[in-house]
Symmetry: C2
Subunit: 409 residues, 2 copies
């Protein structure tokens, strides 16, 4: 069968690898130029945190060994307090429970090369105004998907698009003085948030998130940093220049249904479900979509309509949950990582996970270090929370009994 994929980002080029392996004739259309020839990222987020779901997909298509050397491990969060102190919190108990920072560009080029050498035809610099001619079209063309618009035209489609009232700017830290192998966080509450990803050359990419009104009100970025994030100021030598030159990025959440139209069109990645970036799962969930869609094609090899319907049925409940988790983690990153109680709870979670290996798994671990479907992970975490609450009630009850017993004596 001839299958056209629109969009040569991580999801589109990975799916091309999966589909060409199934024996299909695959063409990929991409509005932008070939990234192997031009270095143009249009102000897109440069760094991504590869986690278990993304790695499973890359392993599936035989690319993980090639991609591994392009990544920097992130072993935990390095949280910066206002007084400049840095506290390191590991992501998990095991050596494998880490994230891998990678440049989006490096990942995409590896995927395109792999697909290209397997016989996928890439058409770069191609803007579509109608669906391409093919037996089926895959919309992997991002949050503002043209394929989705064309597919939903005149149809009863549900759609929700929501912008976070915060924008972001990317800034460069040439050298991170400590904890290079970590995701650094400056939690600033309602006044901003900085997150950094490490690069192979020892530098790090910092992303400053701020409410739009506060971002627009900054006339002197150095004065702003001196007041809000004084220890970060020292790390960004080109602050004033970069702040002036770099565009403001926007954050959008998108949910929609249906994801497919008979056996003709199907959406994957951001085209089907865009999330805020605060759980680091946007790209991982897009890569995982390909794994799930491939499994559905396995079950219905001769019936695309059944495969696409099964894909949406099986996958959408989980990406809906990811949307919720990504919103909650925004609060966690900017607020709770400052609170000692939060870290006590996290430590308790990791301790329980050590005592009951495989039976007690913190939510963050399930989302980032396993391939447990998102909604199943959330359901299990809720059961664990209930156990903890009852344990706390039980402990309080025992303490009360002990006190009464002492009085009686």
């Amino acid at each position: 069968m001839k299958i056209a994929i629109v969009g040569a980002g991580p999801a589109g080029s990975l799916l091309a690898c999966y589909l060409v392996r199934r024996g299909h004739q695959v063409e990929v259309y991409e509005r932008r130029p070939d990234p192997r020839r031009y270095d143009d990222e249009e102000g897109r987020s440069i760094n991504l945190g590869l986690s278990a779901r993304g790695m499973r997909a890359l392993t599936d298509v035989g690319l993980m060994a090639e991609i591994q050397p392009l990544t920097v491990p992130m072993r935990g969060r390095a949280v910066h307090a206002p007084d400049g102190k840095v506290a390191f919190h590991p992501y998990g108990n095991r050596q494998t429970e880490i994230l891998h920072s990678i440049r989006r560009r490096d990942l995409v080029i590896s995927l395109i090369n792999q697909a290209d050498s397997a016989g996928v035809a890439f058409r770069f610099d191609t803007t579509l105004s109608a669906l391409p001619e093919a037996d089926a079209v895959v919309g992997a063309d991002g949050a503002f998907s043209t394929v989705r618009t064309l597919m939903h035209r005149g149809a009863r489609a549900d759609f929700r698009q929501e912008y976070l009232p915060w924008g972001y700017k990317e800034l460069t830290i040439p050298t991170m003085p400590s904890h290079h192998e970590a995701l650094h966080v400056w939690p600033g509450g309602d006044d901003g948030l900085i997150v950094t990803h490490p690069n192979l050359d020892g530098s790090a990419t910092a992303t400053l998130f701020l409410p739009y009104d506060k971002l627009a009100a900054i006339t002197d970025p150095e004065a702003f940093f001196a007041e809000r994030f004084p220890d970060a100021l020292a790390l960004i030598p080109d602050l004033a220049k970069e702040f002036a030159e770099r565009p403001v990025g926007h954050l959008v959440s998108i949910r929609t249904a249906p994801w497919h139209h008979e056996g003709q069109v199907v959406l994957i990645g951001d085209a089907a479900h865009a999330v805020y970036p605060f759980y680091g799962q946007g790209m991982n969930s897009a890569l995982e979509d390909c794994t799930v869609l491939d499994a559905c094609l396995d079950e219905h090899p001769d019936d695309l309509a059944a495969a696409f319907a099964e894909f949406e049925r099986r996958r959408r409940p989980h990406t809906d949950v990811l949307d919720e988790l990504s919103r909650q983690n925004f609060v966690e990153l900017r607020e709770r990582v400052r609170s000692p109680l939060h870290h006590a709870r996290k430590r308790a979670d990791l301790t329980l996970a050590r005592i009951f290996p495989g039976r007690w798994v913190p939510l963050y671990t399930m989302v980032s270090h396993t391939t447990t479907p998102y909604a199943d992970a959330l359901a299990k975490a809720k059961r664990q929370d209930a156990v903890l609450r009852w344990a706390a009630v039980g402990a309080a009850g025992l303490a009360a009994v002990a006190m009464l017993a002492r009085k009686v004596r």
Copy 2:
């Protein structure tokens, strides 16, 4: 100033009347032909229930006296039980607390004539692909607004579009045997809902609402009615023919933000907020938008940007509440109007309203028979509900005390 309005429906043609009165040069663009020349409603809902908000707006522009004779009063709901019994429940205590059934077409023609004779220029059969040339453009072009799409292009706009998984068909009841001056309801739970609006000629328009799968599964409409709505079957002589010929209507809810772009563009009516039809407030809220926008223009006569911003600030919280109320009333119409408890609660509400006139006002009365803003109405209703709950607790407490007192004696 030259102001272009896109859409000559109820909201667009009413706003034209308001704006021409302010001394503006007003042009109205409409995709469809002039309804005064052609009878083409494109399968749109033919009947509307005019309530206090709509009537205030029509009174404002001096049209109510002309429109009144085109309406049929609806004094309450006539609820049909499965056994064929009909129970009448008045909408309110007073003669004025009624709704007025009107054909959409009659209302629109009156508004267009009024605007036309005041000097508004109408451009029918005109499809726009760009915003028209004017000092400001008003998008009154419905749920699938082109003006909204053009205004939001490339902007950080929030948008949510949701289809109810129920469709509808309109059917004709040539003569309603009893309670002509009522809105008839056949509540069928998950199996369907029929609502009727009376017409001037003694006929009524029935709307059958059904989940899409059940609607699609009907091969013999007469057999379906015989099983589900036997007493309605007898009233619709052309059932088989109409069921086959009439299109399936869809129900969409839309919320979006922003509603305006500087002083250049503003959205009203369904273009800004489309609701499910179950509170009968879709058109009334669209007409009320014009009243609110006119008040904002009064406050900022020389500053459209300020007037449009104030309109959105003042109005959107209320139409958001209307969206919620319209969803809840769908449940009420198809489920609760069958329950004796529901009617007991309604009667208690009306009794309290009689005892405390003006101080106790049921939610339905506030929404339909007053111009209290929707969110204020909901807040007041919640306070009243709390009082009722405490009164119930108080009564139970008094009863308990009385019982104890009796035992002690």
